[in-house]
Amino acid sequence: MSQKCKIIFSDKKTKILEGIADKESWFKSFKTLFFITLVSLFFFSANAQDGKALFKANCAACHALDAELTGPALRGVEARLEGTVDGSPREWLHSWIKNNIGLRESGDAYAQEVFDKYGGVPMNVFPTLSKEDINAIIDYTNEEKVVAVVSENTVEGADANISDDDSTLLILVGVAILLFIILIVLSSVWSTISGAVKEKYPELGKNLPEILPFEKRLKKSLKSTTAKIIFALVILSYISVYTFDGASKIATQEGYMPEQPIKFSHKLHVTGNKIDCKYCHVGAEKGKQAVIPSVNICMNCHKAVRVGPVHGETEIAKIYDAFENKKTVKWVKVHNLPDHVYFNHSQHVMVGNVACETCHGNVGEMEEIKQVSTLGMGWCVNCHRETKVQFKGNDFYNTYESLHEKLKNQELKDVTVDMIGGTECQKCHY
């Protein structure tokens, strides 16, 4: 993309020069200048973003920003090289990226050092990358680390939703405008015809009703109390619906997918290796929390499995580091409930036989874990209204004699959670 930008840039540049030379087309060149300013603004602001794309395309196979893969971690590499290499680090990086082998052979000490440090495996050369490209990549590596990023997908998803809503709205507005135009046209046709009739056949015109021109009629009806009330009601209901809708979404994090300290892939473990959820999430059957597995659970398998298919040793090495050096792994919590909510996994998993996927979505297809449900109260209550209680075979429910009676008499088909008090406040709030 940046290459394209560049082409446009040079193209326009020529045009500017031409434009300035031709004094007669001054206005045209002003327009061009304006356009160019816009484009270059976009270009510069988009630099780091392009750097990311370039980084992903060219470097990510061997480098990560924060982790050592085949090559070193690259975040802040420019600052790191300050004082280590001769001359400015950026220049050194340019020559290293374009042709690291050449640089090493030229006798650069640091280039040799890096080569030795990473097992004597030479880095690919990138003679095709332009100066701007390399700058973009370096700018990208200079970006500060963001701990948890709401993923692009979420943003896009949200956008798509909004545009969906917009299109409906657009159609409605369009129809309204169309109707409005038809109304105006009809009304003016009527007044023209009636005016003409009155003029030509005054006798006939007497029988015609007096019709005000459309603008006057509109003015009159807009001034009427009914119109004002209707208008107020419409505005009020719109505000209420909007507020309620917005308020119920406060602090819900549907689609939340933060970056995790270890690039753990649920897809790989669940779909690929067919590991049961509860093997790692040991609390799901026992208590409130499903529990993020402790490192020793990871080690059950990873004692043997040292290399992963995607990230090689790097990510698994983090588990080893945590296990051997007794370091904690600080996962970012994805599914958060407010403090005043009591939720117990074992109730749902053991008693309700609710599958993990019901709330957590198809985790087996997720590389990074993502919140798929709103976890809002409306969502909880809805499920409690629809879910059937596992009445049979659990003696606990014997106490609900009247319900058993109704089931027997076929007055009831099923007992849902709300029938035994599942939507009452103190089932979850205490």
Binding site: V147, A148, I250, A251, Q253, P258, V282, G283, K286, G287, K288, Q289, V291, I292, P293, S294, V295, N296, I297, A322, F323, K326, K327, T328, V329, K330, W331, V332, K333, N336, P338, D339, H340, Y342, N344, S346, Q347, M350, V351, G393, N394, D395, F396, Y397, N398, T399, Y400, E401, S402, L403, M419, I420, G421, E424, C425, Q426, K427, H429, Y430
Partner: protein
């Protein structure tokens, strides 16, 4: 039938109208609106501008808070998860609470490795699952910011290595002078062995036991009569007549948890079997035990010994035994003593006489009386002796003499505070300066530790291994429930290190148990399984097969110590406040804020004077002293010492004695600021007849000053009990044993009447069936007023279980106290010697709840299991519910007492001051350390919401879930609310009233049952069982 008059405060007797008016006003404090309404807006405390500012701020804050991105929360798992821990699931560890002589076998509930609650251990044969307020509150002391966090040398932070090197060096240098170890009562046999080992290494060392409130006389009397230096073991359940002279055996005396259980066992009469014990109390002040007595007489401390001797002579006459000559007749009590003597004699072999007298002669007489009454081997025994107090006062005094003489080189203080609690603390302080090596192993920088060169802080008991033998044959183990929080070291290990023994104390305990206890049983063949099982159970018990016989009874010798002259003048009686003890829990905010059962006063001590004394001698008007918090201040003095405290009129107080509680007036910054809270009255105790006496003559004069006391007595009172024409409204019911039959008949009629009355109402159909259906469970509770002694264990248990905020003295004064369960104390009878009924009062979970109907946002509503639910996050704080609650059990979060929100300005009081800072509560309730005690299953409520008893919904839900997971029916008795669990007498029973077989269903329908203001039609879920007294009309006849 019930034309009896009940009153909670004195003013009700004199000026009913004003109390009635007060009762109507739930929110005592004036809302700061007058300012707004007044003409002079500029001077108003809250002006229109302030209002707009607040409005603007809250709108902006709410918008900001709502629009902020949700904070990133981390989930940090264990690196290596301990096998027994599942996050979110509580673990229970059996342990032992043993502080001074207080003993309780406990279970410690831990969540994610931190103790959050203490419960009674049902397996203990001694405490039988019971607890008291102190045991319940002990978990907060673990998270006390005032604890010493590392060793000190001369007040400077030091390392254990350095401390050990220096102390060992000093000990080695000293070869000729004496060393003393002074400790409070040590129940742990292994600790005693550690001390023996220390003494073996340094043979010039003596161990002295010192109890701030001592029972030396009983021990010495046992030594004289039986040749055993220990306390007898009592069984109150085997006594039909109990006579107690000053012994507060239900409150603080020796082993109250054990005694309460026994006492109540013999006090459950039915109309078919109207039998219960009779309890006669002779007491100077209105102690908890005195308030429970069937017959009570005031008797000041200095006359107690004489009264006991008189009683002996009267029984001796009845028994035909030889009387002791030279005993003056106690004219004032002659008649009642004669009656007591005859009652005791009639119940020979099934009676019990106890006394808290610290006069050895008097205790020898007590032994003689029990011997004459043939109680030994029945209600009192010297075969299984008790060790719950071991201090000998004379030994302490001898130690101080040695120290003053300069004969002492080393002083080791362990778990006692003589510089604060000795009658001659000043002598002790002086003597300390003559000792070269002074070491304190106390956990706080208290009055004594501050004098010492070395402070070697001990672990909290929840961090340490320990064992205990409160009674012969009863052993229990203590195990750590948490890693040590600070750089402290167990005192026993310190002693072992200094003695050059490097063993861990747990190995040391194991060695002791292997040697001494493993052999006492046959169940387990290997020591390992014996140890593991004992540790799991927390206790190990075996029957002691001994037969101790009385060796000698020299009553002539004993009578010499009995003073026959009645001291004219005013006497001060120094006592331990129920649930507070000797002062060691001064830093415990839960216990500080606990309302004293009788006076209902929190945060500080006071001078209790009798109504007659107040009226006639001090010229105070009784009624005026009740409603406001202000009390006149008086100076109490003797020739050496004086204090100033507020005067509180206490019905039932002896006219010639005043009572003041010990444990207050702590000087040294024991970590948390408690300066100025009450006054120390230990200096009023005297050392005479070889023991410390808890009374002495004093002068009292009003100073003209006024001080506020934080008294909850007249806060949250129920208005309906006070309507003139409705005196018979059923708030508290009590009757006499002789009238129990009639009472039960009347109750049956009442119940029928009310049932008829409710028929066809909103909540009962024409047949009397409930309109509201409770398809599954219907939770209910029954509370036996006859079993409730008012000890307050339930109140603290509720605070611990439900994260109830502590609000501080000033806030309590403003009626902002937050407890969900309160013990209402009702007086009946005369002001001078009233009878008392205790009534635990909490949310009644009415089926027709007045609070539910008035909530504009439906934040409080009814569940299908009969619970009155409170949804905090829905509450907007209108407080209509509290206004409409006839039981006054709802509490409002006037401030952010628990730090639930992040804006500290939420705690700015009406005068701009921060309500938490004002009472220096930050360290107590808001620090990260103390917040570790919070129960993670219960929401921490924010400012502006109502709260109230939830019937421990979290426990109900947990038990239901466990049953569901097992696929079993929920068994009766599985769910225990926190208050029920804590109760040592089993007064509270909780369960499913839909299940006719459940205990609670049976009790709720039993003959003594009634519901509070039942006739109003609120249909409460709590049934109370009326109190029955045994006032012995028959015996008189």
């Amino acid at each position: 039938m019930l034309k009896k008059k009940y009153w909670q405060g004195l003013r009700e007797l004199s000026d009913k109208a004003s109390v009635e008016a007060e009762a109507h006003n739930e929110f005592k404090e004036k809302l700061p609106v007058e300012g707004l309404l007044s003409d002079d807006l500029a001077k108003a405390p809250a002006s229109r501008r302030d209002f707009l500012k607040t409005l603007g701020f809250s709108v902006t804050a709410a918008t900001l808070a709502a629009s902020c991105e949700t904070q990133i929360r981390k989930a940090i798992p264990y690196v290596i998860k301990p096998e027994e821990i599942t996050p979110g699931v509580a673990n229970y560890y059996a342990s032992t609470f043993a502080e001074g002589g207080d003993y309780c076998s406990i279970l410690v509930k831990t969540r994610e490795g931190r103790p959050i609650k203490i419960e009674g251990n049902d397996l203990s044969g001694l405490t039988k699952g019971g607890t008291n307020a102190k045991a319940q509150a002990a978990v907060l002391s673990l998270y006390d910011n005032g604890r010493l966090k590392h060793p000190l040398i001369k007040g400077e932070k030091a390392t254990w290595r350095k401390v050990d090197r220096k102390i060992k060096g000093a000990l080695a240098e000293n070869t000729d002078k004496k060393n003393y170890i002074i400790s409070s009562t040590i129940l742990s046999p292994s600790t005693k062995k550690a001390i023996q080992d220390f003494i073996a290494k340094y043979p010039n060392t003596t161990h002295v036991t010192y109890d701030a409130v001592s029972c030396s006389a009983i021990i010495e009397a046992s030594d004289i009569s039986f040749g055993k230096k220990a306390l007898p073991s009592y069984d109150f359940s085997k006594a039909n007549v109990i006579a107690s002279f000053g012994a507060d055996f239900l409150g603080e005396w020796l082993s109250p948890i054990e005694y309460s259980k026994q006492y109540v066992q013999n006090r459950v009469p039915t109309s078919e079997n109207p039998v219960m014990s009779r309890h006669i109390q002779y007491d100077a002040g209105m102690s908890l035990t005195a308030s429970n007595a069937d017959e009570r007489h005031t008797l000041k401390g200095s006359l107690q010994a004489l009264a006991i001797a008189n009683l002996y002579n009267k029984i001796a006459v009845l028994a035909g035994a030889e009387t002791v000559s030279g005993i003056a007749k106690l004219e004032s009590h002659d008649e009642v003593l004669a009656k007591t003597a005859s009652e005791l004699w009639k119940n020979k072999g099934a009676s019990l006489v106890v006394s808290n007298s610290n006069n050895t002669g008097a205790q020898v007489f007590i032994n003689a009386i029990n011997n004459l009454l043939e109680n030994y081997g029945k209600s009192v025994s010297m075969n299984t002796v008790s060790f719950q107090k071991q201090g000998i006062d004379s030994e302490v005094q001898a130690m101080i003499a040695d120290m003053s003489a300069g004969d002492v080189a080393g002083l080791f203080v362990y778990d006692c505070n003589p510089a604060y609690s000795l009658p001659n603390a000043t002598d002790f302080k002086e003597a300390v300066s003559k000792v070269s090596l002074t070491i304190s192993m106390n956990s706080h920088l208290d009055e004594t530790t501050a004098l010492m060169e070395y402070a070697c802080p001990n672990h909290n008991f929840l961090e340490a291994w320990n064992d205990a033998a409160p009674k012969a044959g009863f052993y229990s183990l203590g195990q750590p429930a948490i890693q040590k929080l600070f750089d402290t070291r167990q005192a026993q290990e310190s002693l072992l290190r200094w003695a050059g023994i490097e063993t861990d104390f747990v190995d040391y305990i194991q060695a002791y148990w292997k040697e001494n206890l493993f052999t006492k049983q046959t169940k387990y063949t290997s020591f390992q399984s014996f140890w593991t099982n004992s540790l799991r159970d927390g206790v190990f018990e075996y029957t002691v097969d001994e037969n101790t016989t009385m060796s000698s009874l020299d009553l002539m010798e004993a009578s010499k110590t009995i003073s026959t002259n009645d001291n004219e003048g005013l006497e001060v009686c120094v006592y331990e406040k129920t649930g507070f003890g000797d002062g060691r829990f001064a830093n415990n905010a839960w216990l500080q804020e606990l309302s004293d059962p009788i006076s209902k006063i929190t945060w500080g001590n006071f001078i209790a004077v009798s109504p007659k004394y107040a009226r006639e001698t001090l010229g105070l008007d009784l009624g005026d002293l009740e409603i406001t918090a202000e009390r006149p201040v008086a100076k109490v003095s003797n020739e050496k010492y004086e204090i100033k405290l507020p005067v509180v009129i206490q019905p039932g107080q002896s006219d010639d004695a005043i009572s003041i509680a010990v444990g207050y007036g702590r000087e040294q910054g024991a970590g948390v600021q408690r300066d100025g809270l009450g006054a120390n009255v230990y200096p009023f105790t005297t050392y005479s007849n070889g023991n410390v006496q808890s009374f002495s003559n004093v002068k009292l004069e009003l100073t003209g000053e006024i001080e506020e006391v934080a008294q909850t007595q007249m806060q949250h009172i129920m208005e309906s009990s006070r309507k003139d024409n409705l005196e018979e409204r059923m708030v508290v019911l009590d009757t006499d044993l002789s009238q129990l039959g009639e009472f039960v008949e009347e109750r049956a009629k009442d119940k029928e009447h009310i049932a008829n009355y409710l028929k066809g109402s909103f909540y009962r159909d024409e047949t009397g069936e409930s309109v509201h259906k409770y398809p599954g469970h219907k939770w209910g509770m029954s509370i036996d007023l006859n079993a409730c002694t008012g000890c307050n264990a339930c109140s603290i248990a509720c605070v611990a279980e439900n994260n109830i905020p502590i609000v501080g003295k000033t806030e309590v004064t403003r009626s902002h106290e937050m407890s969900w369960i309160r013990i209402d104390r009702y007086f009946t009878g005369t002001v001078d010697n009233p009878e008392v009924v205790y009534q635990p009062m909490m949310c009644q979970h009415c089926d027709n709840a007045p609070c539910e109907n008035v909530c504009p946002v439906n934040a409080t509503n009814h569940s299908s299991e009969g619970l009155n639910q409170m949804a905090y996050n829905r509450c907007v704080g209108t407080r209509y519910c509290e206004n409409n609650c006839p039981y006054k059990v709802r509490k409002f979060n006037w401030y952010d007492y628990m730090g639930a929100d992040s804006f500290s300005s939420l705690n700015d009081g009406p005068r701009g001051e921060n309500v938490i800072d004002r009472d220096s509560l930050n360290e107590d309730v808001l620090s990260d350390l103390t917040r570790m005690v919070l129960n993670p299953d219960v929401t921490v409520r924010a400012r502006g919401v109502m709260e109230k008893c939830s019937f421990c919904i979290q426990r109900i839900q947990e038990a239901k879930l466990d049953a569901k997971k097992e696929g079993e029916e929920l068994k009766d008795g599985v769910i225990k609310t926190a208050c029920q669990q804590a109760c040592s007498t089993g007064a509270i029973v909780f369960g499913d009233v839909n299940n006719p077989e459940s205990e609670v269903a049976k009790l709720s329908d039993s003959e003594r049952s009634y519901r509070v203001i039942e006739e109003v039609g609120t249909l409460p879920s709590i049934a109370y069982l009326a109190k029955v007294r045994n006032k012995s009309n028959e015996q008189e006849a």
